[in-house]
């Protein structure tokens, strides 16, 4: 079972990476690009076979390690 953890900076927290990427895209001629936010994605191969259990486990991992709750929020999806 695969869990996909997406970690993004919380709203309101400065995202220098997103800012720079947006700027670079505008410079490349992509005028239609507005705000850009950059985050991390972590794909976990889990031994779990039950989707609900896998989700709980991955959320626990995100809280304990993968996301920094001071500045980041996360979401977990379970894929096949």
């Amino acid at each position: 079972m695969k869990a996909i953890v997406t970690v993004m900076l919380k709203d309101g927290v400065l995202d220098p990476q997103g800012k720079a990427i947006g700027h670079a895209l505008n410079n490349l001629g992509f005028a239609q690009v507005g705000e850009v936010r950059a985050g991390k994605i972590i794909e976990l191969e889990l031994a779990e076979t039950d989707a609900a259990a896998a989700k709980i486990a991955a959320e626990d991992m995100a809280k304990k390690l993968l996301a920094n709750s001071v500045i980041e929020s996360f979401r977990v999806e379970i894929a096949g």
Partner: protein, 722 residues
């Protein structure tokens, strides 16, 4: 959003009843929400120095070479050749505990701005760090984050991180200290100050956009932590070193023109403190229209904009006819440039937003009537000297134990993560000498830079500890051949409302002042961080000292690396004082006794002698004896040069591990000549061994191979972070 303004709200902003009464008196009416916010941050401990100011006055701040002492963004000294060194140290303790990486990173960013805002190109960063018990998992997390944060910011902005210090002690478990120092260089005739002038001149905002970051950060830095701190924390500031790099280059380029009347970084309390201080210092008024402030978020209130601590921003007063030139330079560097107000003759700060006057405060009382406390204090009784001790494990085991202990272990794991060579001027990198040596580009001149403090001494005897910190900084510069010139300090203490903490503060200042006077080593800048307590437990008193010295001929800068064929001579008297020593703590498990005595006359005499010998070319390596005493100093020299010393004088453990001050280990080709010169100068000196093989041989014949020493020395961090 705008809550009812009353004493309860004032209290939640950190203003006590008396302070709030004073606000009412100054305003002559109920202040607005924004006005109360402005008072609360300006009168916070962090911005007003209300508990410490009366004591800071005791420090000597002048010398022939001091151009600007405390009171400006950073201290400025004349270093010859028409150049000035501009430097300061600042704490980011609370933010670094909440979010170690970003807290440390933004600490570096903040101190850089204090220096380049005065027109200096930053040429070196240092950092003084104190962490809790290494056995706790949280300590590891904090160390990792802080080191990565300092590196992440400093490496990216391209300022070499060349030195610092690290201590561990359980007293810092809930309250690590992150003190960052920046040193910059400017021409003495191109120094920029913050006093606003010129009625009608535009007030210009430069840098990153404003968000809701760190609102009330200055107030947070002025209170203790408790179990609920996590809830209270403001939005953490995230550092953007790339923007800082642009800001450095843009400001320095702008400073080549004559556009700037005054300039000030937006540090703690952001727009509030920068505008209030600039106008206040210039004796003028200031009017801001917040609608024109570049904003990252929508719907920000006046209160939020005035208190935001968004990073990488500067406030300038510009000559109106130069505004477009200034804009062109700033925008070339992809930074925001906005005229957000003007200088007035009202003596008031007026804040307008959406057509409403959100604040209108007379500036003079805002600063003059700021609370000033003569807080009650009690001095901690000085401990008695330590009695005689037995050595249960012998010199060899003692040495290995000390080399491996967290307070002495090699810091290479840390400095290997800091770019120490960028700029191409680093003559002595971390670990190579007692002070970092950075040449001034295009000259033969170099600066010698160090930070020092021994908190365990300060805890036992804050006066002796304060003096020792200054003396050690002076000694570290001296050991490189540098002439020590001036000091910046970072006073990290607990809750000043406790008389014993205020007693520590007062005693430390007293000791520092005595040492600064005796060593001609004035304090030109500094920072105070109080309320370093978690759940009522204070840190060790930590008056961190950052110091700058100069070497006219950089090629004479002395390192610690031993070379084969040299003789080892110790300069300065060894009494064998083991009180508060690391040997006592690591081997006998005791933190006891009086710290080593500080004899400032001996310090000066011995140091002047050593510097003279170095500059005359008589010395091949030099290292001061400090933490761990003589034997540790010799082992460090051996490891730096990869040459084994052989020691020839049979003495007991207190001789080898005592932490007596004012001592240096010199490696010289001609010991007899050095002893004669020392005698002529009435300086104690003793020949203790020579450098020869590939192991360290103790008197009596036991030897330890260099690889065994190295394993012990480098093991701690490597194993910890394996």
């Amino acid at each position: 959003m705008n809550k009812i303004v009353d004493a309860a709200l004032a209290k939640s902003f950190g203003l006590n009843a008396e302070e709030y009464a004073k606000v009412l008196e100054i305003m002559g009416r109920l202040p607005s929400f924004t006005e109360l916010g402005i008072f609360s941050v300006m009168w916070s401990e962090h911005c007003s120095y209300k508990s410490s100011k009366v004591w800071l006055k005791e420090l000597p701040t002048t010398a022939l070479w001091v151009i600007h002492g405390p009171g400006e963004n950073a201290g400025v000294i004349d270093i010859g050749d028409g150049l000035a060194a501009i430097f300061k140290m600042e704490s980011h303790n609370h933010p670094s505990f909440i979010e170690p990486y970003q807290g440390a990173a933004t600490g570096v960013g903040g101190i850089l701005r204090d220096v380049f805002t005065m027109g200096a190109r930053p040429i070196a960063n240092l950092n003084a760090l104190r962490f809790g018990d290494p056995k706790l998992p949280v300590t590891k997390r904090v160390v990792d984050g802080v080191v990565r944060g300092i590196g992440g910011y400093g490496n990216c902005v391209g300022v070499p991180t060349v030195g610092g210090e690290v201590n561990f002690h359980p007293a810092y478990n809930g309250n690590p200290l992150v003190n960052a120092m920046t040193v910059g260089i400017a021409r003495t005739d191109r120094i920029f100050l913050s006093a606003a002038a010129g009625i009608g001149n535009p007030v210009v905002y430069v840098g990153s956009k404003t968000g809701r970051d760190g609102i009330h950060g200055a107030t947070m830095a002025s209170t203790e932590f408790d179990a609920n701190s996590a809830e209270k924390r403001p939005t953490v500031q995230v550092g953007d070193p790339f923007t800082e790099k642009l800001l450095i280059e843009a400001c320095l380029e702008l400073m080549q023109t004559d556009a700037i009347v005054a300039i000030q970084d937006m540090g703690a309390a952001g727009l509030t403190s920068s505008s209030v201080e600039m106008a206040g210092k210039g004796g003028v008024g200031i009017e801001l229209t917040l609608d024109d402030v570049p904003q990252r978020e929508t719907g920000m209130s006046a209160y939020e904009m005035m208190l935001s601590e968004s990073q990488e921003r500067m406030l300038l007063v510009i000559k109106p006819e130069r505004s477009e030139i200034a804009r062109a330079i700033i925008e070339k560097w992809d930074l925001d440039y906005a005229i957000i107000g003007k200088i007035t003759d009202t003596g008031r700060i007026i804040i307008k937003h959406k057509g409403v006057v959100e604040a209108d405060i007379p500036l003079a009382p805002l600063s003059d009537a700021a609370p000033l406390y003569h807080r009650p204090f009690v001095e901690t009784p000085k401990p008695a000297a330590l009695g005689p001790t037995e050595d249960p494990i012998g010199l060899a085991a003692g040495l290995l134990k000390l080399l491996a202990c967290p307070d002495i272990a090699s810091r290479s794991w840390i400095w290997d993560q800091y770019d120490s060579t960028v700029g191409g001027q680093t003559v002595k990198r971390p670990g190579a000498a007692d002070a970092a040596i950075v040449r001034l580009e295009g000259t033969n001149r170099a600066l010698a830079l160090t930070t020092d403090c021994t908190p365990r001494y300060c805890a036992a005897d804050a006066e002796a500890g304060g003096a020792q910190a200054v003396a050690e900084a002076w000694r570290n510069i001296t050991a490189t051949g540098g002439k020590p010139l001036a000091v910046t300090d970072n006073m990290n203490f607990g809750n000043p409302e406790k008389p014993e903490i205020m007693g520590q503060f007062a005693a430390a200042i007293k000791g520092m002042a005595a040492a600064c006077i005796a060593l001609d080593f004035p304090v030109v800048s500094g920072n105070v961080s109080l309320y370093n307590e978690t759940e009522g437990k204070g840190i060790l008193p930590t008056p961190a000292i950052g110091a700058v010295g100069v070497i006219e001929d950089a090629s004479k800068a002395m390192g610690i690396a031993l070379q084969a064929g040299l003789q080892l001579v110790v300069i300065g008297k060894t009494y064998g004082q083991l009180g508060q020593s690391l040997w006592l703590r690591e081997v006998l498990g005791m933190e006891a006794g009086a710290p080593p005595s500080v004899d400032l006359k001996a310090e000066r005499r011995n140091g002047d002698f050593v510097r003279g010998q170095i500059l005359e070319g008589k010395v091949a390596a030099c290292h001061d004896a400090s933490d761990g005493g003589l034997l540790v100093a010799i082992a460090e020299m051996a490891l730096a040069g990869n040459v084994g010393p052989s020691l020839n004088t049979l003495r007991s453990h207190d001789f080898w591990f005592g932490e007596d001050q004012a001592r240096y280990v010199l490696a010289v080709p001609d010991a007899a000549a050095l002893l004669a010169a020392a005698e002529a100068a009435s300086v104690p000196a003793e020949h203790i061994g020579s450098a020869a093989g590939d192991s360290l041989t103790l008197p009596g014949g036991i030897s330890i191979s260099l690889p065994a020493l190295r394993d012990a020395h480098e093991g701690f961090f490597r194993k910890w972070f394996a």
